[in-house]
Amino acid sequence: MGTKRLLEAAEEAVHIALKCNVDQAQVATFLVDSALTRYANSQIHQNVASKRGGASIKVVVKKQVGTARVNSLEKRQIEDAVKNAVRIAEVTPPNEDFKSLPNPSSWTPIKGTFDRKTAECTPNFRAEIVKETIDKAHSKSSLIKAVAGSFFTGSFAFSVSNSLGVSAYAKMSRTSLQTTVISSSGGSQGFGSAEQHSKWIEDIEPSLVASEAAETSIKSINPIKIPVGEYEVVLSPRAVASIFMFLGYIGFSATSYQDGQSFVKYNLNRQVFDKSLNVKDDSRDAKTLYSLPVDGEGVQKKKVQLVEDGRVSAESICYDSFTAGREKNRRSTGHSIPPIFRFSSRPRPFNILIAPGSSSIEEMVKDTQQGVFVTRFHYTNPVEPSKAILTALTRDGTFFIKNGEITKPVMNLRYTDSMLSTLKEIPMIGKELDIMAEVTAPAMKLQKLRFTGITQY
């Protein structure tokens, strides 16, 4: 089913809702066709494919709002879901903050986001890529004991129609290859990992991903313990991406901002980060993964400058129509979450791009007297969102830097620190950008990061 058919189904459902005497109605229909081949211990152990479609319905009776979601594109089931939404709205107290569903506005499709080869990739092709990845990793050294990872291919499409005349759609293909390599020598394990994400399967380079993960894994055998405390750090693009994904969620969502739980609220127009830091959310930038022209309400996704020369402002916040309606003269920035995603319904950025600098990772290491190189962070979580305090552990290759050189692998470290402090001094930003799902990031050197704990491996 293409976007045209999805749009017809959405329009039809809106008509059904209007026949039930609602004041406004919005229907977003979607189809997700995905396949994933997962491997561990150097063999495929899970191999799945699923096709799911459905409709997300919102109806408004005066200010009473009812929503329903059905994971089916069958006409009868969508009709039932519309009736459920109407029934819910009729008995729900008015939502005084609700102003209106979005009015129609012009939007422009983004070309070249759908690749049939990626969308229709066969299990045999995925198996070939996985085999190449595993074989390449093992070819690097006899110390490699196990290769794990996943290779995803698929596509998604959604269409949005509302009773005010909104009519919009989006479609794209997506693929990702992720690999973790475990090595072992003398009773010590080493870990390395790498990943690639794209809209086009031709961008995936299994040999490169496998080599990077395997080489890091071997280098990380026999890690030493270092004292916890503040260190200069050189962060790979993956490590940087995980920090900014969380900052996007806790800081730049209109919901967090309006609830007073966002650090942005308390730092408006201040030099909160290093002057060299510029971050935007822009689904039309060629370097972002989710190239969606419109959001889950059919509103054109707008570019939002999240951080400008280290400053955040009221214009850094990402809104959907509901949160925009809570503020005077505010319009949706096109950040309502599309129905294809299962995560939280609050508006938030997921096309985050950090502006590159001019340094290479080698130059960052050379510039570091005593510090830590981080390949990746694991299990990042906010400790105090309003102060942007995060915690996470390093993973899959952490190395000690001494006098401008990487010297030894170190045991994984836990940081607990406010990003308002640690991103205040960014002496160097990488010139290359890596696409890491929702965030496209360069490497970064930070003047200090506070490590508060250490593991045993």
Partner: protein
Amino acid sequence: MSIDLGRKSLEKAVKSGASYADIRIGELIDENLTVKNGIPEETSLSQTKGFGVRVMVTGAWGFAASVDLTGKEVEEVTQKAVAIAKASAQVKRSAIPWKKTAGKKDSFSTQMRKDPFKVPLEEKMEILMDADRALAKQSPHIKVSYSFFRSKQEKKLFMSTEGDEIRQQINWCGGGIMAVAIRNGEVQRRSYPSSFRGNFATSGYEFFQSLKLTEHAKQVGKEVVQLLGAEKCPSTVTDLVITGDQLALQIHESCGHPTELDRALGTEADYAGTSFLTPDSLNKIQYGSKIINIVADATAPHGLGTFKYDDEGTIAKKVYLVKEGMFVGYQSSRETSADLELKESSGGMRADSPLALPLIRMTNINLLPCDWKTEELIEDTRRGILMQTNRSWSIDDKRLNFQFGTEIGWTIQNGSKEKVVRNPTYTGMTPQFWGSCDAVSKDDWMMWGTPNCGKGVPGQIMYVGHGCSTARFRKIRAGLVK
């Protein structure tokens, strides 16, 4: 849910070369109600119908799923699963270890007095509006007030080529309240009965009613305002007393996940990680002190992880993971238990929808009580900090180094609960931490439901339970935030 569709799929799978196949046909209904600042912010009903077919062909797995419940689609999806399994077999080191079991024909439903989906929406909404009003009026510093209700029903039919035909209906529901208070840039929150939308149980609407949300609004409001003026949690090494709502997550992260056998065997290495509880440490490693007894119990009454059969037809059971401090067991599946030559699966395979592949998931991971009373436990503590209700969590990929934050803490001085402290955090290493536990209470032991446990690629969200009570841990590092 049609047995005929199931039979059609299994016949097709066998004809296409499968040595084993199963199909799950399911239907989910999920109702979420949220009132925020007196406004019904979320009133949603989500419905999913579909099926998933798992096949074993030439010793390798294939799985495919669809929402289209027609005979034609069932045949095509089964064929797709077979093709996927054949592709899996191209990158195979060894065949899937598998022991045949006798097929079962049975049915099961969660015991409940009142079906939450038959309770009028207005009634549920009125309880939430009432609780929200009660919370908001406690203080002008309360800037955001929330009340939550959630109810889920899962109907599923499991059939396999070994002759299984098992129908189950699982129902769970629950809710909670939360207040956010703000003063001069200081932001604090307090929840009841637990954070992240409350507490949940396999039960009928009577469980939600028993939470009596409005009655607890006063205490929640009082504590969140107290937190605004409280001192920061001191940075110190001290005795720590943890209440059940926080200990539930501690058990979840530091015992539940590391005792999942798929993690220990390396099959989650690419995402959530592996486990420090490696197979060679089974029955050898001292996980905690002698008073620590932890079970995986899918039969626990009202546990969020309670059912009769898992998603590969294994009957629910209670197995010891830790006995008198010793690591003695894993949560396992038919495949992983055969791989490790264990006697049988622990019955832990579940999928979050018929469209997803079953994985080893926690059932109810319960810390068994000792003889202490909570009051006596605090009276017996000379100097320490009492911490309650989770606020943040993080643990490494082998489940050793953890750090948790709670919503509220109190200093304990000479056996008495004293000052409130804000932003409490603590950290440790799993075996040392559980090794330092010297008291577990009995009187406040209860089941806590966690409806949001994430695992797997593609990601799945599962509902699991934890039975536990207040416990004490000696010499723990607290106060990690500068």
